[in-house]
């Protein structure tokens, strides 16, 4: 049996980064014990990418759903299965997978979500498929016909999982999983709200690390730790003990998938605080609960189609409404819209978003990244200049 640290290297790096995130905030803030959330090493993991993967079904089948990151180092030599004009996150993931990371997964679930994911599934299934794989089709519409179609897809996925797990999946199994994930979602919403208070009780990068942990952890254990964490942190913020320090500009981070915690750390390292986010790997992943009184597959289908949608699922108008409402709710000073090169759906929303935010008087910084988890010096200058702009061009507040 491999030690957990080897199985989930990301948790180690998150753990290592935690100190740096907290150092900036202040001393005796409670910590989130990531290590307490790790799944039992004996349990089999199923990797997933897309926020539309029904984690509930995977859990009901007895597997641990595990979000796949690409920020763990691949070998560039393997990048040529996919062309250079395709999503850098997908290309990096493939390189990492071909370099032997993720060999210990029981299987992978692809969602036919975007072009890049479909092409990744192609390469995976044509050339290299350790463990099993499944391609799930998720509709782009959200009406009744789409819901019924998704239910059919979920039914098929469920049958597939039954075959892989070699056990039946009962409705109570799914119900239990729904309840657990619903609980995770409400805890994450509470943790996310803590970012609202202004003073940096909870850094955006720390929130991001917790959000990521929730996508890779044993959810039952995560829920227990999240409750402890909330209990400790809420008492702090109610008491106002930590409302000290210089108020940093409040930023909303929106756009493409954020792979790992490097990008939020980088952005906050430029002198602002991410108080809200709107992307696949942040708070949006946890928004919208399932109705556990419904037929379970129906409840799952309904939740995935009714929750705040990503750029693949809806047009610019709906996306802009969402960004605006978050910007107002969290009283942000500016919006950073991060796109990955060649991400057509997200990039297509940018022109109108930029017009709308300009009308609303909300500053916007678009950044286009070549790499899903790093940003170079040129981007740093841009983010720092944006933070200076948000501060109202004051040379030094301190």
């Amino acid at each position: 049996m491999k030690p957990v640290k080897e199985i989930i290297p990301e948790l180690n790096s998150v753990q290592n980064r935690r100190e740096t995130a907290l150092d900036r905030v202040g001393a005796e803030l409670p910590s989130f014990r990531f290590e307490a959330c790790r799944p039992d090493p004996a349990r089999r993991r199923i990797g997933w990418f897309c926020s539309y993967t029904p984690e509930e079904l995977i859990m009901a089948a007895g597997f641990v759903p595990y979000r796949l990151g690409a920020d763990i180092g691949g070998v560039e030599d393997h990048m040529d299965f996919l062309p250079p004009n395709l999503c850098p996150y997908v290309r990096k993931f493939l390189a990492a997978a071909l370099a032997g990371h993720y060999r210990d997964l029981a299987g992978i679930v692809f969602v036919y979500s975007c072009d890049a994911m479909r092409r990744l599934a192609d390469i995976w299934t044509t050339y290299d498929a350790p463990g099993f794989y499944y391609c799930l089709d998720v509709p782009r519409r959200s009406d009744l016909a789409a819901e019924l179609f998704l239910m059919e897809q979920l039914q098929e996925f469920k049958s597939f999982l039954v075959r892989q797990a070699k056990r039946e999946i009962s409705n109570p199994d799914i119900h239990r999983a729904i309840q657990t994930v619903n609980h995770t979602r409400s805890l994450m919403e509470r943790i996310s709200r803590l970012r609202r208070h202004g003073a940096p009780v909870l850094q955006g990068s720390m929130f991001h690390a917790i959000a990521r942990c929730g996508m890779q952890a044993d959810k039952a254990r995560f829920n227990i730790e999240a409750e402890h964490f909330l209990h400790r942190l809420e008492s702090l913020s109610v008491g106002g003990a930590k409302r000290t320090g210089v108020a940093k500009p409040r930023v909303l981070l929106s756009g493409c998938v954020v792979d790992g915690t490097a990008l939020p750390e980088f952005i906050e390292g430029c002198g602002c605080t991410i108080v809200a986010d709107d992307h696949c790997t942040g708070a949006r992943h946890y928004s919208g609960r399932m109705n556990d009184a419904m037929d379970p597959l129906r409840a799952i289908a309904w939740r995935y189609l009714q929750r705040p949608a990503c750029a693949r699922m809806t047009g610019a108008a709906a996306r802009i409404r969402r960004v605006l409402s978050l910007a107002r709710k969290y009283r942000v000073d500016g919006v950073i819209f991060q796109t990955l090169k060649f991400c057509d759906p997200v990039q297509a929303d940018l022109p109108r978003l930029s017009e709308t935010l300009q009308r609303e008087g909300i500053p916007l910084l678009p950044i286009d990244l070549e790499n899903s988890d790093t940003a170079g010096g040129q981007i740093k200058t841009r983010v720092e200049a944006f933070v200076e702009l948000l501060k109202g061009h004051e040379p030094d507040e301190r």
Binding site: A116, R119, T126, R141, R312, G315, D344, Q347, L350, E370
Partner: protein, 677 residues
Amino acid sequence: MISFKHIYIKIMIHAYLVKKHLAIRAPLPAVDRVGTQFAKMLLNIYRRRNISVLSGFLVPAELMHVYGTAPMFVEVLSAVIASAGLGQRSLEYAETAGFSRDSCTFHRTALGAGLNGFLPKFKLVAATSHLCDGQSKALEELADRTGAPYILLDVPQESTAAAVNYLSAQLAELEDMLAALTGRRATPSHWQRVFSLSNETRDLMLKVGRLRSTQADRFFGLDAFNLALLAMLTMGTPFLRDCYRDLQHDLENAPVNAGDGGARFRIVWMLAYPYFQGNFISDLEDRLGVRSVAEELGQVYWSPLNPERPLQSLAVKMLQNPNLGPVANRVRLTEKLVEEYAPDGVLHFSHWGCRQGCGGVRPIADAMQRCNVPFLDLGGDCIDGRNYASGQTRTRIEGFVELMAKKDLNEHGKVMQPNGFYLGVDIGSQSAKAVVVDAAERIVFSTVILTGASSRRSAEKLKEAVWGNSAFSGKIRRCVATGYGRNAVDFADEQVTEITCHARGLAHQASGGVHRIIDIGGQDTKAICVAQNGIVTRFVMNDKCAAGTGRFLEMMARALEIDLEELGPLALQAKKTVTISSLCTVFAESEVISLIAEGVSSAAIARGICDSIASRTVSLLARISGNGAVAMSGGVAKNVGVVKALEQKLGKPMVIPPEPQIIGALGAALIATQKGV
């Protein structure tokens, strides 16, 4: 309100129609009707009383014709705009509005034209999610900005009963919208009429497809592609049925291989055709005689339609599209076309913005290698001519032609003059090389000079150097030119691409036999797979940018403020390396400057630069399969830093000839020794 932009467009279309009409007085042959029909349909969308519908090219046209609307595809609009030379203007308009330059130009061009006020106000906009994310986003944007109603047909990736039900329900919604717009509801007899025309046309398309395999001189390439596009737009109309019927008649009654007789190679064309002005199609079709006899786009993949269940039937047709689902469907289609048409090669035009198309190239290329069919992955953009690299494109298509010709370039005993000398000239982007060999293939002379600003002038200089040498002056029997400037060598008897020449040259220099060749030149990198005796079996070239080329090294050396020659030895001194992550040469340069500012040692940066080139090169090499000996040619092979980094990544030493720079010219000289190549 009168729009002057609309009037301008309408006048242009009328002028085109009049010109066409005057040029051909007799009834138009089927092929010539395509352009006029596109023009008429364009005029129709500007007529206010028409129910104009803008859609993606896979919205079933039968539904539009049942309701008597004026349909237009966004992709056709963009192609027409590009053919009329207005592509750049529209693209720039869209880019100024903030739309990404990396998005598909088939959508961005029409979007730009629409934002700029050149398009009419459509009564309805419809998109499908079939093939890509870009189309629906662009059309929704256009609809929103012009206040037109919008519908997305969400097409599932696999054809199942649930998928048919889901899609039929959406088609019913589209039908309701059309009924509301036109004020009438289609009756069974409407469906009957349109579907029987569609089915009849389908049969004719199959027949024409079969005839085309023997008639590569009469109906091919762009004409065929345009008709296939028009067919999707006019499916279910008498016009299209008649068009195919007449075409079938023309092809059946023409003697076998009638036409201009220019077809030398018959190919299958995958993905789209280029439309921007000044593209390479006439070069490919007329000069090189490469004719496409089948296109991915024009294939009949659907079953006949059933008017009893019209919407289900259309849903099934949409779901049968081989571009849906896993790439295995496209691979199967390519294999089927290869089997049916027995082409000399398969060309995949990888349109830059097409994730679906470009993303599937590798499995298709591998399948073609298994079938032993020459394959060319040609990168470019169908609409946007701004980044068109004519030199690179020419090298690739000529390399492809050489591959298809399957010339045995190593056959001995074909030397024309036993006492003569043979000259090879390689005009690269950075340096120009000349090599003279004697009849026994021994190198008797070689020289390398800088190319400078003019390929022609450097060719002249090389000529002076060779002709001025008394040892073989007047005894040069043949000359072959290669490299980017090969067409500037007036005194050459023949031009051959550097791909073939490098393979030939290395086969001569490497005694143990070479399986794969890396050639890093001044402006591009090539990976070539060779069989015995230096015959090319497969090749790939870096495209899109200069990263990882000799030019890249030169710019990085400049950033480090050292001479190019110093870079390699400096890299060897490094105890550790740094990562240069930028894909782009310009950004990599700024990355290097930041590293210098951070105080990282020049040696470590130099090594990082060499590692970065090595990574890129090895990944290019990975695209041509095989694991035999690797040789390296080109000027960069003289850089010890790059060579070491490459050998480390490959895990084995490479074969490096003593003078890697002259390999191309040597190959050219060796080819010159052969008769009638």
